[in-house]
């Protein structure tokens, strides 16, 4: 899902970088006010976990590969803005040090995997979990579905971003200038891989990771989703 340089026209890639700047600004502010100092190791480890999970390529029949991202787990543990910082850090380091994902394309990649994915996953989780206990079967099912949905929506955004280039940017003779595959083909290829294989893996990673943290460090979850008190997305404690 890491879009390389050259696949997006600069007219597409640069606006994504510009769009990420205020989002990163908000994210830094939220982490500053919401994430306690003692939880910073969880954010750092979570971001590093996301980095390594993306190295576990899953073979796709037909000679392709895909991978999970780990962004939804981080969003459930520490909130979607903290996940944005953690996953963006991993993606920027992947682009600069390992050439995985483009440097011009890093805005689009962060938008898909560090903004859309954690938010979609987090909202899905909250919607399904409701008031169930943090380690209940319902919460685990919510985490699985949240991971599955979050990764697939991110894959859809990615497919539309590069697939649209085929139609938007062509030379005078009609040959594509950037991404050379039509939108429809790109969407079908990306979605089949992620719906069938990478999505379930993301779901498992999300649910298993949540269970592991909840069992070993219940305080991390308790402070976000505790008895009647929840910290809403604006960082205000709500009594419900």
């Amino acid at each position: 899902m890491h879009i390389p340089d050259g696949y997006l026209s600069p007219q597409t890639a640069i606006p994504f970088v510009v769009a990420m700047v205020p989002l990163w600004g908000i994210a830094v502010k939220k982490v500053q006010s919401e994430v306690k100092k003692k939880d910073i190791p969880v954010l750092a480890i979570g971001a590093a976990f996301s980095f390594t999970i993306m190295m576990f390529n899953l073979p796709i029949p037909g000679g392709s590969s895909a991978h999970a991202v780990g962004a939804v787990l981080l969003a459930i543990l520490l909130g979607p803005w903290a996940a944005c910082i953690g996953v963006s850090t991993a993606l920027i380091i992947q682009a600069l040090i390992f050439g995985d994902g483009g440097v011009l394309a890093v805005g689009a990649n962060c938008f898909n995997m560090a903004f859309i994915m954690p938010w979609v996953g987090y909202l899905t989780y909250r919607l399904i979990k409701g008031n169930a206990d943090n380690l209940s079967g319902r919460a685990m099912a919510a985490a699985f579905i949240a991971g599955y949905v979050g990764l697939n929506i991110a894959a859809l955004f990615t497919a539309v971003e590069f697939g649209s280039q085929y139609h938007l940017f062509q030379a005078a003779d009609g040959t594509p200038l950037f991404f050379p595959v039509p939108l429809k083909v790109a969407v079908i290829a990306m979605m089949s891989e992620h719906l069938i294989l990478a999505g379930p893996v993301e779901g498992l990673v999300t649910a298993a990771g949540l269970w592991f943290v909840g069992k070993n460090y219940p305080a991390v979850l308790a402070q976000r989703f505790s008895n009647g008190v929840k910290i809403d997305d604006l960082g205000v404690e709500k009594h419900v």
Binding site: G6, A48, F51, I60, G62, I97, P176, Y217
Partner: protein, 104 residues
Amino acid sequence: MFKSYRNLWLVLGAFIILSPLGLLATGTAFGEWGLDELPGEVGFIPAGLERFAEIWTLSPLPDYAIPGMDATFIQSAGGYILSAIVGVALVVAVVSLLYKVVRD
């Protein structure tokens, strides 16, 4: 940093050691083909793509490998594990530093 979340660090360490499993999937992900793979995948290299594809060439560990060390699976696995260690160290350092900077 390390003591209070020991079990999470242990899991992260296990992930680093197991990372070469990711090398078993040898296919390139859809839409991530390099300039060398594009002719085989789509038949040609689009002009604009070629112009911007190699805008960044300073990656010290391109494709999670030590340059020139990819002849055998053992070499690739070594490069992959080294990449995981370097990546994890950088990510942890950047997140921690960022928090320090915005806090003070």
